[in-house]
Structures are given as structure tokens and as C-alpha cells.
Symmetry: C2
Subunit: 401 residues, 2 copies
């Protein structure tokens, strides 16, 4: 396995804050860049390969630690230098070498890959390891759950602080900044699991809004999706509330509908449940609630056939969480996502098992780019109370997570 | 010219906050990733090439803007799609094409480079542009200076806030977090020019210390080197002060010596001055002051010959600043740094000109990795009052910038 490398801002000497690659962190906990790990399968012996830092490093970057420091800190059986890798393999002559290579199903990006001079002289299995690590990461240990509870608590407290300080007239980024400060200063959480999404009013209709540079106006719905991370473990929390603290009737309709989805799904979430079914349950609940409220009309089964729920909740119900906020393992072993609206944006297509961690985050968004085509088509337009819908243009969205 | 691309955390869909490449920002001000720029030298006509975003983008990332939006926002003559680049060059048939390629003298890294399908059919000049842009960037316009004064003011106010809140018992990262929050929430400065260096006590002796995870103890010297950036323009400020607000006699010796260096250099800094000379002036002043204080002994000219000043101030006196905190242009046209101690870490080897922006940041550090070899050698050991020096082990450092 190859750990993450130190990154720079373009061609400059601006060093970015190092965050370890998730699977490498999972296996080692190593916080330093530029390392490699081997595990000998027959004996379980782990060897950490660290960079051989020049003495000059001590002046600029602190003490150059001896190998014993890493041995003790990370509990590996042996520490060698990265330059020792070819000789190490020559001596061990493993057959095969398992290398982590695979495609992340959320991003479509391929993992970075360990290699060394002379690797072509060995039999290498590039298939198995990626899936196996993924399956390990999917089921959390009690220790992992403890860290995840900690990081969720830090994010949660920071959200509360943001709620307390929120006032119309503030800039979205001021609330993002406050969240970051609370997480870091109170919780020691230096990084966030994803760029903070602080959308007030119409900003809230952009699902991955991250500019956060609009003024928060009076009587706007705020949709704040922010989560920090600690020891590379992530959190993911979305809170929706009115900028001035008072829910208008218009806001109540949407908020209560989303809340009903949370409740409906929470009742059914248990080992054995099929996640895509729960996604559809959330969409159905949304349609039922918005029909009660008069925003939708017609038969709910029919709405489901026309994916009306999917169009209001263009994101999936939720996803696996862990060392990545969209954690590995949602579609294991090359499983494909459904092409249907709604499900095609769902990041997990599995039956639930004990020890999995998932978010439940239904939402209701009013996105012009989604609604306009639906209203232009009589087949789908008939489900909407268009007069009422018009009042929700520019409203943004609600999500509860 | 090629603008910066959106970056992800390893293979995941975690999008990093986008910060434009500095020279591209200099020429365009463009805030979006994935763009290219051409300037037709005969006419001065500028064309911005933007990615052709799919409609799906509107749901997740906000409105997909028409080309006219970019034309207006950035004042370019024409906006085309990135995919149009080969056809554009085919029509214009330029001879030659100037492409930005060069090595950053602070990092040793090479610039990223614009290319397109079919570029090998043109005559391309990879030499000239890099140096020319560098020379443009070295001399700041009044408008640039205005932005740089703004960003320096934001950082300065944030430093003051950190000073006010500083108390022994806090963690270094809490003060970093406060700085970041002040810059972003008050100044709209989302990024920092470099990772905050918050070193209390012995942490301060690591020049690029950035872990910031030590507890600040009573009666420690704090060395806080932090600067935010705005519109990609950087700031760079170091403050040194005691954790409990009271300078001990031991601290005063070092602080006053560094302050004397600042004053000596500030008197001589003017157009025509040779920056390496000012660096040596700072080292000489340091030796004189520490001799007065009794920490050094012997003849100052002799100390200079043995680079005693360089060993206490292992960084350079200062550097050009602008769109990068270590700005481009310190050694133009392939000029080499002196190999001498002190000067070999100096990031600028030029005669000063009006419109240049530089930091003046002398310092005095007690780094074991530097001092131990000096004391082991009688040639250099004789300049130190070893008994007094021993009391400064673990002291950290002082820098004033
Ligand atoms: Mn989520
Ligand atoms: Mn500096």
C-alpha cells in the first residue's frame, strides 16, 4: 500500500495540509506523508517504509525521528526506509504481491497505486485487495464507532453554535468560518469531511453549493451541510432552519414533509433492509406529505412511476460513512447502480448489516433546472399545483441529516 | 496559459477548495477551474476558454452560465469552450505560440503547462513567457498594492485578536483556528498564504512548524507566523511575544536583537539596495547585539567570516511577495543563488526597485540540529558563551516580520 504524498500548490513551495489517504490511514494510522506499508499474509507481519529525511529537514520541519519512533507510534513490527523496498521484496520473494487498485464508485477516480523498481519481476494481483479493504472498512469496529461518535458530536456542537449566532445580514461564509473555528478550536478537528455548504435562500437549491458568498436575508431558509473530521474519520450533518428563527407556513410545509421522511426511514432502518427500498420509501413519503399539503396532486403510485419524488430529492437518501464521507463499498465487486432517476444518484445499493454507518438525509429542493423540464411535459406537469409551486421558486431547499 | 484544475482528495469525490494558479490569476482574475487563456500579441485580444459544463452541473453546482457572463465578469474580448482550442489555433495559425514553462526557484517545481491536441504542428517558444510574466509580477501596480494593503490589514487585525485571547494552557491550534476565523469571517479571506506556524516554546525553533498541536505553557516565547490571502494576494506576518504577556530578561535579549535587525535593515531598504547585502547587514547587526548581550563573544568580522549570524537566522532576511507568499522573480533569468550559508536560503538576489514588495523578517532561532555541529567545532564554538547559550536550548525562536 502506498500512503499519500505531500502536495504543493501548483509549482510553488506552498505545502498543503497533509491528510492521509483513507485506506492507508485505516491500516496504519500513519500521519506522515510519503510512506508505504506491506503486510506479510502468512505471518501478519507489517512493515512500514518511511522516507529517509535529510538532516536539513530538522531545521525547517522539526526533529528527524529514528525508525524506533515509528515502530512505537504505529505498532508495526518493522520500520525500513522507502529506498529499501526493492531489496525487501527481493529477500521475501512474495507470490503474488497484492496491490490496492480500484475505481471509487462515487467519483469514478482510480486509487493511487504502490509500485517500486523491479515490480514487473513479480506476479502481482491488482484485483483482490481493493474489494477486501472496502469490505473491511464497511463494517466498523467499536473503536471506530467511538471516534465517529466523537466527530459527530463536535460537528453537532458546532452546528448549534452557528444556529445561536445566525442573524440575517450575515454572510454565508461567516457562518462557515464559525463552524470551522468551533470544530478546530474546541474539537481539534483541523479538516472538514467536505467543503462546507452554507446555502441561505436560493443558494440552498444548489446541492453542492460551496461558494458561501451570499448575504443571508431575513426570512430565508438556511440549508447548512457541514461536517468535520478527526483522525480521518468523517461526519456529515445537515441542518435546515429559518434565518430569523421563525418558521413561516411555507417553510413548515417543506420542513415537516422532510421530517416525515426521516421518521419513516428511521423506523425501517435495520439489518437486512435494502437501502434502495428505503430510498424509495423516502420519496413516497415525500409525495404523500406534499400531496397532503396541496403542492402535489394525483395518485401517489402514479407519481412514483413518474419519479416525481426523485425530482424533488435529486440526491440519494444517504450513503455509507467512515474514513470518507462517501465511504467506500456502496457497490462492491463491480455492482452497478440502477439507471432509474433517484436510484442513479444513490451511493449505496446494499442490504444493511450490523456495524455499517450510513447517513439518512432526505431533502426537498426546488431546482429550476430540474423543475422546468417537468413542467414542460404534461405527463409530469399534472402532478404539480403550479400556482403553489411558483411560490417556492427561489426558496432553496430543506435537508435533514 | 492554463488555469488550475479542480483537485480531489485522492480517488474520492472530496473536492478541494479551488485556488487559482497565481500567474493565471494575475492575467485573468478567473476564479473557476479548468480554463485556458490566449492573448494575441499583435492585437492584444484575449480569449478565455471555459469548460463546457453539462446541464447536470446546474443541479449539483449551481447555474451553468452563458459565455457572456464570463466575458463581462473578466473583461476578455471573447469566450470560447476549451474544446474549441485546437480549431482556434488552426484558424489563427500563430508563429510562434508562447507557452508558460519554467522552474520556480523557491520550490524547484516546474509550472504546469498548457497544451492541446495538435500543438506539435506549431512552432512553440517555451522560454520567454515564464520570465516575462515573472518580471511583470515583480513590480506591483497601485491596484495590486491596494489589495495587498487590505490583506495585510486583515492578517494584522487577526494577529492582534490572537494576542488578546492568548493564555497559557491553550493549544497552539486554538490560536491558529482563531486566526483563520478572524481572517475569513471579518475579511472574507478563505485561504491562507501558507500553513499557519504557531510555535510556542521549543516548537518555535522549527522554521516551518505547522503541526500546532502543543500546549502553550506559561512563560514561553510564542512565534506565530500567519498570513491570509485575498483574491490570491498574500500576506506574511510573524509576531513573537511571551505566552503570559510579560517579557522575561532572557526573552528581551533576543527580541531586542531581532528588533535591532529590523531597524537596521529598514533604514537601508530603498531602490538600488542589493538584497543580499541587507541580509548580511541583518546578520551583522544580530552578532553585534548578541555580543553586547554577552551571548556571543569575539570579533564581529570574524563571526561573519564563520557565518555565526547565518546559523542563528537560518532563513533568509525576506523575500518578494505578491500572488505567492514566496513570489516569483527572486532569481530571474536562471540566476543562481550564492552557495554561502545564509545567502543560500535567501529567496531573492536582486537590487531593489520601486514597486517591489518584500518582507523584512529577521529572526533568531535556537535549533539543536544547527548548534550542535557548531559547538563541536572549536573554530566556531569559541564565539559562543556556552553557559549562557545552554539556557536558550528549548527556548525556540523570535522572528519579527
Ligand atoms: Mn451526506
Ligand atoms: Mn516570510
Amino acid at each position: 500500500m502506498k500512503g499519500g504524498e505531500q502536495e504543493f500548490r501548483f509549482d510553488t513551495d506552498h505545502e498543503k495540509i497533509f491528510r492521509q489517504e483513507s485506506s492507508f490511514s485505516y491500516l496504519t494510522g500513519v500521519e506522515e506523508p510519503g510512506c508505504f506499508l506491506t503486510i506479510e499474509l502468512e505471518t501478519g507481519k507489517s512493515v512500514l517504509f518511511v522516507p529517509d529525511l535529510p538532516m536539513e529537514y530538522a531545521v525547517w520541519m522539526g526533529v528527524v525521528y529514528p525508525k524506533s519512533y515509528y515502530e512505537e507510534k504505529y505498532g508495526v513490527e518493522e520500520v525500513l526506509f522507502v529506498d529499501d523496498i526493492p531489496a525487501y521484496f527481493k529477500e521475501k520473494n512474495p507470490n503474488p504481491i497484492f496491490i490496492n487498485r480500484g475505481v471509487n464508485t462515487d467519483s469514478g477516480h482510480t486509487t493511487m497505486e504502490a509500485t517500486f523498481d523491479g515490480i514487473d519481476q513479480y506476479k502481482v494481483d491488482y484485483e483482490r485487495l481493493f474489494g477486501d479493504i472496502g469490505e473491511c472498512r464497511v463494517i466498523k469496529t467499536p473503536q471506530e464507532l467511538e471516534v465517529m461518535r466523537y466527530v459527530a458530536k463536535i460537528s453537532s456542537e458546532a452546528h448549534k453554535q452557528v444556529m445561536r449566532k445566525m442573524q440575517p445580514g450575515m454572510m454565508e461564509y461567516q457562518l462557515e468560518s464559525l463552524f470551522l473555528h468551533e470544530c478546530y478550536a474546541r474539537g481539534g478537528a483541523r479538516c472538514v469531511a467536505y467543503t462546507c455548504i452554507c446555502g441561505a435562500g436560493h443558494s440552498g437549491a444548489t446541492l453542492h453549493y460551496g461558494r458561501n458568498n451570499k448575504r443571508v436575508e431575513d426570512d430565508e431558509m438556511c440549508l447548512f451541510d457541514m461536517g468535520c473530521e478527526y483522525q480521518c474519520y468523517t461526519s456529515d450533518i445537515t441542518c435546515s432552519y429559518p434565518s430569523n428563527g421563525k418558521f413561516s407556513d411555507k417553510m413548515k410545509v417543506i420542513y415537516n414533509a422532510v421530517l416525515a421522511c426521516v421518521k419513516a426511514v428511521s423506523k425501517e432502518v435495520k439489518p437486512g433492509a435494502y437501502w434502495p427500498d428505503l430510498h424509495r420509501l423516502s420519496e413516497r413519503t415525500m409525495c404523500e406529505e406534499l400531496k397532503k399539503a396541496g403542492l402535489l396532486q394525483g395518485d401517489v403510485d402514479n407519481m412514483m412511476k413518474h419519479f416525481i419524488g426523485s425530482s424533488l430529492q435529486p440526491h440519494g437518501l444517504g450513503h455509507l460513512m467512515g474514513l470518507d464521507v462517501h465511504d467506500i463499498g456502496g457497490y462492491p465487486g463491480g455492482a452497478k447502480r440502477s439507471a432509474e432517476p433517484g436510484l442513479r444518484n444513490l451511493r449505496c445499493g446494499r442490504h444493511l448489516e450490523e456495524g455499517m454507518v450510513l447517513t439518512i438525509e432526505p431533502g426537498c429542493y426546488f431546482v429550476d433546472a430540474v423543475l422546468d423540464p417537468l413542467l414542460a411535459n404534461p405527463e409530469t406537469a399534472r402532478f404539480f399545483n403550479q400556482e403553489m409551486l411558483a411560490t417556492y421558486r427561489g426558496f432553496g431547499g430543506v435537508r435533514i441529516e
